[in-house]
Subunit: 254 residues, 2 copies
DNA sequence: CCACCCTCCATTGTGTACAATCGCAGTGTT
DNA sequence: AACACTGCGATTGTACACAATGGAGGGTGG
């Protein structure tokens, strides 16, 4: 319980996910990354004091980071009860995916119009990084980089509200993938990302949109969202305990 | 400087925009409403201490409310410099409107599928309130209610991420309308809202979407987004002071 | 007279103490 | 034995004190 990172007071940019300036960004990034890499399982309680001790900052900072994570839907903030890692239900996952299809289509069309050569180069670089991560077997980094690819694409679309929305959707998607992805398959084949970049570079809007939609299909076909897997329905979860002897109210309380 | 609202400690729901429980919601709602009603002009500085004194709470609460407003794009939060009422540029306004078209189309289609009779009744009630506000000449309340109508519609679409995004877009749109709307015309003709509800009730998706798109057209056609109106360009703003005698640099300081 | 710098003040950023709240366990009652 | 109630412990919610930053104004030197 006494371990603590270096106070991270002003180190310009720390380890892996260390972003720009302020402390909350660092805390935010570290927690987010831990969630994506499944070092923090859905439902895990995120105590302010414990986190504060770990990162060497006060609860004030932690609180801001948690608030931001909650706003993006990665963390659930229950009043007076503290924060837990969100555990999206199948229904919530469906809603996120529906919204993403909508946004990704628009983003793709806009990116075809506005992406600069420089941005396209950056996108290619990101795909490389992503491939490296997967070949190293670093699944968490792979999921994260794959998300950052889609976020970068949103930036190429040059529409601030869409970028902000996409950030939230990508975060939640990453969490959903971490939670629901079946087996060990690489979830976001970088090959599709490459093809997509090619289409954008050729300014072929129709092709790019088609590729993106197929990409979306692939992503959610790899998830076990089809009625099975972890359910919120207590009856379903404990159905093996339910004896079908009498249809009375006996199983009502576990 | 000494005036202060009643401490608003635990009054279940105060005045006009008083929402659910906690204090930040109240502060948030009051500031937001003040911005919409143009009692707070774009660019106005929002000092934490001053607001804290006005609402009778500590800076902590104010800070949270401001942070939330900033996240919705209604307030601009400059590090170490404090918060100001956002003053969206023409370009930003365009981006918001583009995103709104996208979202409203999806919301309309989903609402046609999922809206319950009860929700439709609520929507009709909101249109009535909106009409009342405008006939009373209460422009601020009108803009706000009109926004809430679109938000209610989003709720009928039953997609949490879309609702959240729509909330942010509606907030920003309201600010833009307050800032750019030409003259005294009612900006969001409740008539169009009524027609839209009718189409949704008849489950006519195509008609509903068409009406919504026309509605969007109307809204931004009423705005002076076409290069003119309140500009960021100081030279343009103060052009009436510029004497065309000499093209020297004399007018550089007012 | 203008430009630069330096000090001071106002305001925000952060840490921490105290208060309020919730969940849980122990106890008593039916 | 099961339920309800009450007190306790732990954790979050709020306020406030102090530190740090940025801007404005005055002063000095060129």
């Amino acid at each position: 319980m006494n371990e603590q990172l270096q106070p991270l007071k002003k180190q310009p940019r720390a380890g892996k996910a260390g972003r720009s300036g302020t402390q909350d960004d660092i805390v935010y990034a570290h927690i987010f990354e831990a969630i994506l890499e499944q070092r923090l399982a859905p439902g895990t309680k995120l105590s302010e004091e414990a986190l504060g001790e770990i990162f060497g900052v006060s609860r004030t900072i932690i609180r801001r980071a948690l608030s931001r994570l909650a706003h993006e839907g990665v963390v659930l903030l229950r009043p007076n009860r503290g924060a837990v890692v969100a555990s999206p239900s199948v229904e919530e996952a469906r809603q996120v995916f529906m919204a993403r299809r909508l946004v990704e289509r628009a983003i793709t069309e806009l990116a075809v119009q506005h992406a600069t050569a420089e941005q396209i180069a950056e996108l290619r670089q990101m795909v490389n990084d992503e491939r490296d991560s997967f070949s190293r077997g670093d699944r968490g980094a792979g999921i994260r980089l794959s998300g950052e690819f889609h976020l970068k694409l949103a930036e190429a679309a040059k529409n601030a509200p869409l970028i902000s929305f996409q950030r939230s959707l990508v975060s939640q998607t990453s969490l959903i993938i971490a939670q629901y992805e079946s087996g060990n398959r690489s979830h976001c084949s970088y090959d599709e990302h490459t093809q997509l970049i090619d289409a954008i570079e050729k300014r072929d809007a129709e092709l790019a949109v088609n590729l993106m939609m197929h990409h979306m299909d692939h992503i959610d076909s790899k998830l076990n969202l089809d009625e099975e897997s972890a359910s919120d329905d207590l009856h379903a979860v404990f159905s093996h305990l339910l004896q079908t002897k009498k249809p009375g109210r006996s199983p009502a309380k576990i």
